[in-house]
Symmetry: C2
Subunit: 124 residues, 2 copies
DNA sequence: CAGCATCCACTTTGATACTG
DNA sequence: CAGTATCAAAGTGGATGCTG
């Protein structure tokens, strides 16, 4: 995902770019189940460096909310905002198109699921 | 857009990656009005090199059809296939999300339109 | 007209290590 | 725990020029 996302002016283009990133998709998928912590995403296989960037981007885009608790060890929760939830129809459209027109054998899906440690469907 | 698109197994990810490219979006938008030629896209501002790659990718993905006529000078038409038309809901979802949640001043839109020489909405 | 080959520079990423 | 710093490696994109 380009660093200059904020400079993309076309709404379609910008939204598409935002969503067309493995890391972002995994993040959104995980958050569908509720708030998650930084370490959770790391456990799921995301690179801390990229994860950090995406999280910052998503927060600054208003798609995610970041809540830090004054504890030790530190704890930070990430959750979907209304805007983040508004992204669901997009993901669903993407998924429906993908499932109907993008042939992917069961093995492939299994590989992907193993890779991300999660199911490939986005719950309602 | 990554060259190894065919290696992306997750349907969502793959469809998203396909669509998350300025060049691809412009191509799809232009084709909404009917078949277009290579030069048309060039006229619209697309780089021949990138355009060529995207066109090949879209054709091999089955999103576009390529028709070459035995003429001189050569003539080639590109058009949406059923699969290509099936992408419309995705673009629309993207657009709706973008328009509602991605603030873009009128100036920005104007800039974009000037840049692509076209309206930024996708006709039905 | 359609489109490939080349050059080149910039952007982005994974791995790894370190800190408040 | 939640990040950030560094570094080398690789992928991409634009400009240009050429050909069937």
């Amino acid at each position: 995902m380009p660093e200059e996302l904020s400079q993309i002016v076309c709404p379609i283009q910008r939204a598409a770019t935002l969503v067309a990133d493995v890391t972002v998709i995994v993040i959104l998928r995980e958050l569908q189940h509720g708030p998650r912590r930084f370490s959770h995403f790391v456990d799921v296989g995301l690179n801390p460096r990229t994860l950090s960037k995406r999280l910052q981007c998503l927060v600054s885009e208003g798609v995610l909310s970041r809540t830090a608790y004054a504890e030790s060890p530190p704890r930070v929760d990430y959750a979907l905002t209304d805007k983040g939830r508004a992204l669901t129809p997009v993901l669903r459209a993407l998924q429906e198109f993908g499932e109907e027109w993008m042939p992917a054998g069961p093995e492939d899906l299994a590989a992907f699921q193993a890779q991300t440690q999660k199911a490939s469907t986005i719950p309602t």
